[in-house]
Symmetry: C2
Subunit: 192 residues, 2 copies
DNA sequence: ACCGTGATGACACCTGGTGTCATCGCTTAG
DNA sequence: CTAAGCGATGACACCAGGTGTCATCACGGT
């Protein structure tokens, strides 16, 4: 496949996580990350458009999973049910294994106290929401409801992800996601 | 008050809007913006932490208005009602006059086709949502509901703002905000 | 007339990010 | 077996966003 060391992006991510953990996000230079991965600053930017992006790569994949699952839901399913399907599909598809969990924790720790990264995280969530909303409209859900259902789905996903990466958590991501969605739907009744 | 030309921030914003309109966001240098306002690049960054921030200044004020209005709502008011109060208060306080409307249009036009600015807009909305959610929790709204109500309020606000700045709109912001919130609350019923 | 203060200017500096060309190793055609 | 082609990388120069630091300058108060 390639004559250089394989898994370039992953190596860059690991190098970045190490350095961020040691010295904090903005004390670390892109050149240093690349160097630790045995590469060059220029090459880093060939794989990630941004310094931030190294921590958020692969989210486009999730968007596709969500959208596909919503599109594949039976026509009779309510918006909430379709969103539930999407969450389940995401839990199944995007390997939420233990090693992903460890990485998730480290990423969250870095993102937590850094406004720039928090901002990027919001963008990723918005992208995901937009994908869900689009898929919902595609199946005939009218407009305020489609956006709202997508927003609730995004909220459920990030809540579940937060709980899943919380220290001491033992539960499965799929369970947490279903539970979070359930809670949110129940809360809609208490708004009026 | 000051011995230099007054309204520094506003002058910088106007200069920025002119230049962005002429040549697009990233073809314009901060130094150029400052120069057109009769200032220096260094001074620009004393007033705005960011190049983006010049287009989003004053949002912290809105957050305070929202939070205060929610806190001041009668104890008997439901979360949705409290959010409605906040929207009304915002419409009343943050002068949504015609000149703000013109500026809003120009800002939206620049933000529209710029990912960076869209990202910043998301951060501002998230900040506003967080302020609302905090104020709601303060008055005893439990946690999934507080976040959800805040999210709906934010959605209503941005929807109303979008419609308000749409070309040809004649309606008041307060009306649009109340209407958007109403639509969203009605949509919650159609999710299940 | 003097001094303190706050906003600004001047200037050097770092780093994120990009354009461009050379390099180098593998693959494939001849 | 050799040469051409290609894909990922390195090397290097360059720009612009953003910051630290010190000088300046006008005003208010003493």
């Amino acid at each position: 496949m390639s004559r250089w060391e394989p898994n370039t992006r992953e190596r860059l991510l690991d190098a970045a996580l190490e350095l961020f953990g040691e010295r904090g996000y903005d004390s670390v230079t892109v050149a240093e990350i690349a160097e630790r991965a045995g590469l060059t600053k220029r090459t880093f930017f060939r794989h990630f458009t941004d310094k931030r992006e190294v921590l958020f790569a692969g989210q486009e994949f999730l968007s596709r999973v969500f959208a596909d699952a919503i599109a594949a839901a039976p026509g009779s399913a309510s918006p909430a049910a379709a969103v539930g399907r999407a969450l389940a599909a995401a839990a199944a598809a995007a390997g939420f294994g233990p090693e992903r969990q460890a990485r998730g924790r480290r990423i969250r720790a870095v993102v937590a106290d850094h406004p720039d990264l928090h901002e990027r995280e919001l963008l990723k969530r918005a992208t995901l929401n937009a994908a869900m909303a689009g898929a919902l409209r595609e199946r005939g859900v009218p407009d305020p409801a489609a956006g709202l259902a997508a927003e609730i789905g995004g909220l459920a996903f990030s809540t579940a992800f937060r709980r899943w990466t919380e220290p001491g958590n033992e539960r499965e991501f799929a369970t947490l996601a279903a539970e979070a969605l359930e809670e949110l739907l129940a809360a809609t009744a208490a708004l009026g």
